[in-house]
Symmetry: C2
């Protein structure tokens, strides 16, 4: 693809598209992953390509839940690793939790390809400065993030076939799962197991968005950055009972407002 000038107003979106196209040509994505990315692009456009107020609330709620859980895990698929693998690693380092590559259309090649890419991304994150406000040992924390998924030894109850496979030490024992871009069936199965499921999904109307414990309607890398910021800073967020449906309704209103503002 041609180089995108820095001045292009939608540079970030076009770079993300380029990452997805390149990842697909390397065989890291399932057939329909590019279509899913396109849907996300459209919804992000309609949200004004920014973290909306309702997404900010969901990000704060998610940070509290991840901090308070006993066994959190970040479950990633191909699109997430390509778009925000480094963000997942930074988050894993700050939370102190594993990352599990878990694919709906699982193949051994894609899982190992994505784990290799995460290892490459880890070496880049190791070179970075720790996030402002982080007090631990950055090098050790980043190195300590377990990358799981190549040897599934557990099953998600209520699902059939390869899409049910996971690792015991990751999704198996987790009480809280941060899972961007998840499939609706799997989201529902995880919730039915009594786990807290935090979904990141740009489509407030998707089944995963509706089934999740907390839904962050935001682009995955912005959402990861937002959660990280909440975890390392003194946030003023005061938690009440969580009404996920209300937050989804707010996202739809935010799209309507954006359309009126054009």
């Amino acid at each position: 693809m041609a180089r995108i000038p820095d001045s292009h107003p939608r540079k970030k979106s076009l770079l993300s598209r380029e990452r997805i196209v390149n990842g697909s040509s390397k065989g890291l994505l399932a057939d329909s992953a590019m279509i899913a990315h396109g849907r996300g692009e459209a919804f992000d456009y309609l949200l004004g390509e920014r973290t909306t107020d309702s997404a900010r609330l969901a990000i704060c709620e998610s940070a509290v839940r991840l901090r308070n859980s006993k066994n959190p895990v970040i479950s990633v698929n191909g699109n997430t690793v390509l778009l925000a693998g480094k963000g997942a690693l930074r988050l894993g380092a700050v939370i102190g939790c594993p990352i599990e590559v878990n694919l709906y259309y699982r193949t051994t090649e894609r899982v190992s390809g994505l784990l290799s890419l995460l290892e490459e991304q880890r070496s880049e994150v190791l070179e970075e400065a720790p996030p402002v406000g982080f007090n631990g040992d950055w090098f050790e924390s980043v190195r300590g993030v377990s990358l799981l998924g190549d040897s599934p030894n557990f099953r998600i109850e209520g699902l059939e076939g390869p899409r049910s496979h996971c690792t015991e030490e990751g999704i198996g024992v987790a009480d809280c799962i941060l899972v961007p871009l998840e499939d609706g069936d799997r989201c529902e199965a995880l919730v039915n197991l009594g786990k807290e499921v935090i979904v990141i999904d740009l489509n407030p109307l998707s089944r995963s968005a509706k089934k999740a414990t907390v839904t962050i309607v935001d682009e995955v890398s912005r959402a990861f950055d937002g959660i990280l910021h909440e975890l390392v800073c003194d946030s003023e967020y005061s938690r009440n009972s969580w009404d996920n449906e209300a937050v989804l309704r707010s996202s739809l209103e935010e799209i309507s407002e954006f359309l009126k503002s054009i």
Copy 2:
């Protein structure tokens, strides 16, 4: 992919997705065509996966313009042929105009692959009953649709490189171009040449949607069917001056209304 049950409320959308995935695996699509399809899916979802009132108006206007033009042409890309190639052929037969395969990321292989697919689709259309209201010889009309694009011998002024190539007998001499899913730059160049450009695009905010003479904000196969219906039936559409911006604003309002209705 698994067979989609007839009862599935979004069966048509899922079948379209399957066509795009299969076409891509056969090498008929450019890298980012699946992403473009995903964007379309999202916008169609937000329009309620139906032809809205404003799209209906644009369809009527387009039918009149196609009927009244001297040298109309239908310009198609990979996604259009996969999603609605038969619809394009039916329309070409009724209007009596050529279809030109014209690709933004042109390769000889893709153009000839798409022309072959159109020939296959033509043999299916030949077997079909003519549209109700059509009085000509269906067999001759369908057989008479010229399929152009494999030997570009003309250039669209104002564009550089392979994306400027076209045929003289198609886009070159055309005074009215029906072009679904067009790129913004090309749409603008065609309008600047004084041609009437009828764009079909699910995104009312896209550059092509904004630049076109008439924009039909609708899914391509529904739009083709709608234009065909207008052409063969006695329509009650009474034509006034055309305000394309007003129609685009109506589409955005229709999305807002749909979101409120959920």
